[in-house]
Subunit: 415 residues, 2 copies
């Protein structure tokens, strides 16, 4: 048996045990994991140093190396995040519906773990801890396949966490790390129906597309966000400026940041110059055409390809539209159904936008940067789903559960 099959099979066996544990037993295990990250930090930091040395040799960029790097302070933050997960309510066992049938059958729809979750992700080693603890908290086994850049860190972290589990009610086999860094181990996971119940990819567009295109195991797609902010003619200028700047520059590298600013023509003729200056001050490259470039001639020229690109960078397309309909059409054509915003003082326009835009999160007068499990008050986030099945938008703990109908009778048969 391959590493993937061996480890996924062990994870499946462990899931049956995990399914019988109480919330208290799972929380105790999580606390042991959090402590172990601190107690064993020297081992983890030494392993992380191996990744950093290898990364430097390979010429990895300093920003990537920074994301890869662990420090005592960062490990303490990671351990604190585990403790926060302990404090969250356990969704498993929640009764979502109760049905009393005329024939006397009593039916309950109850939350249960999904079973075994496969996580395929890239560099940052904090995701290893985060994914492991979120899955275990919800009674799921987890098979992790991180990026090769972090393999030493991940191996060390998972070894420390499994040692902690071996002192808990959760079987250590509930947590597995695939160490084979060949692409073939990912391909194998994608087809592991019967052993994996779901695969959650986290990473860049190519990683996610590979999973979506090749998995036969059900997938929760996360990620790509080409987000728009539409500023209506009735918008308050200072609110529009503050929301647009925040959506672009507060953290351009993430999926809920803005890529294209749509401005109503009336608004643009009054304020585009001022707002363009603000973006220039913030070091944002602007791209536009037509009326936008008539008003701000120093803008670069935009292409349809630009409208379809998730820059994740200090680049912004600006488009002047003649009305709400043109804005809706642009979003319909180029949006990725992630997060979309309208800034307006006209309630009817806000309502149309919120109703008609097809996206995980639609905003009226607030920055798209709020699409996030913590900002929504979920206390955790396993990712942001951009698909429509199962979970959409920021995913908290309930997204890691399924349901089961429990039917209790007294001899009922069907006639």
């Amino acid at each position: 048996m391959s590493e993937v099959v061996t480890k996924a099979s062990a994870a499946k066996e462990a899931a049956a045990v995990l399914n019988r544990l109480t919330t208290e037993e799972k929380n105790e295990a999580l606390l042991l994991m959090a402590d172990a990250l601190i107690v064993e930090q020297d081992r983890i930091l030494a392993a992380n140093e191996e990744d950093l040395v290898r990364g430097r040799e390979l010429g990895t960029s300093s920003s990537l190396l920074d994301r890869l790097k662990l420090t005592p302070a960062r490990l303490a933050d990671i351990a604190d995040a585990v403790k926060q997960i302990v404090d969250l309510p356990d969704p498993v066992g929640d009764v979502l519906e109760t049905i009393h049938r005329p024939n006397g059958l009593f039916i309950e729809k109850k939350r249960v773990p999904l079973g075994v979750i496969g996580m395929i992700y890239e560099a940052r080693p904090n995701v290893t801890v985060d994914a492991a603890t979120l899955c275990l908290k919800t009674g799921n086994s987890v098979v992790l396949r991180g990026g090769s850049a972090a393999i030493s860190s991940n191996r060390s972290i998972v070894s420390v966490l499994r040692e902690a589990l071996s002192r808990s009610a959760i079987p250590a086999d509930a947590l597995q790390l695939i160490e084979d860094s060949n692409r073939s181990s990912v391909d194998e996971m994608l087809k592991l129906n019967g052993l994996l119940d779901v695969i959650i990819p986290r990473g860049g567009a190519s990683l996610i597309q590979n999973v979506v295109q090749n998995a036969t195991v059900p997938v929760i797609e996360t990620g790509a966000g080409i987000c728009h902010t539409y500023v209506d003619d009735s918008a308050d200028y200072s609110m529009a400026e503050s929301i647009a700047l925040n959506a672009k520059v507060q953290r351009p590298s993430v999926c809920n940041s803005m890529e294209t600013l749509l401005l109503h023509e009336t608004f643009a003729r009054k304020y585009l110059n001022a707002i363009a200056d603000k973006f220039q001050e913030a070091q944002v490259e602007l791209r536009g055409s037509g009326i936008a470039r008539d008003i701000v001639p120093w803008m670069n020229t935009v292409s349809d390809e630009d409208y379809a690109t998730e820059y994740n960078d200090y680049i912004l397309n600006i488009k002047v539209v003649k009305d709400l309909d043109e804005a809706l059409n642009h979003i319909h054509r180029f949006g990725t159904k992630h997060s979309e915003c309208i800034v307006t003082e006209t309630d009817a326009h806000a309502e149309r936008f919120l109703q008609e835009v097809d996206a995980a999160a639609v905003y009226h007068n607030a920055s798209t940067r709020f699409t996030d499990g913590f900002e929504f008050g979920f206390g955790a986030e396993i990712g942001i789903s951009t698909q429509k099945l199962h979970a959409r938008g920021p995913m908290g703990l309930p997204a890691l559960t399924s349901t089961k109908y429990r039917v209790v009778g007294s001899g009922q048969i069907r006639s």
Copy 2:
């Protein structure tokens, strides 16, 4: 553009219109559809006759021909079923969560249509009406791809229904039938990410496996059921007999019927002879081994392959187990996570079974035949999901919806 792309694109455009309609507008359209099935019955019956003639020429079995056949009475039943869907509450627009954040953001999680649903199914033309009306009721466009055996009936029905839609607020393009009966049209649908939001297959194991193995569009898997009934040592004999017989013979051809009866040894030694006689009277072939055949020597011999087969027929495996654990292990190994039953008077055993068996529906003292949207009181059923994501078990109208977060602010930005 191919037929599939042309029709799916038109369906997607129509979905944007459908998304804005009220429940009343959708219900009016459904009533027009129900009426049209009666008013235009001669056209539909004539087309159905073409399918029947072709079927007879191809040597189709009489049971399949019967499933294919429409009559005025059957059309009246189908039209009545549409009217029942009109009477069901519309889940679209339901608010599932409201969140007030400390920063003043007001977040609502609201049910929305999925968008465009692809249905891939086999012979029976009633599924055409059923799928069309359930999808439209929930604000979804639908692209139907039925089996070639019913192509004339389906073409006629969809033509009649689209004529009805053209007199309603729902665009006729919201309902599409793929007429190309080549397998390539199915393959094309399976990869239509961006135009189809979900594919629901309904039919035999090979149809469903083809969809699951090849789709890149998200799938809701329905279908295969290898269901067990475990009779514990404390079970009431007459209840056990009645539940087991019902689970097997009330309608053996469906997915929630029983394929293997597991009997505690103590129970088997007392009652297996009697229960075997009952199954023999009901024309059920029995297969067993070991103790089961010691007790009932005229049983045929069972193989592991039999345990892994969904007979959908008058064949039953009987296995004697030494305790609940052996029963749970057997179900863990051979079950398809559909419907599983324990008959017992021992509450602790019932609770263990309900908790530990991983299936969409778990039963204590009732027949597995109840796993059905109508029997659960949903008033409709688009299928029975055997996967864990999105929907599990009988799927009513809410399974055909997604959600959207509506976030209303007053200028909030993220810091």
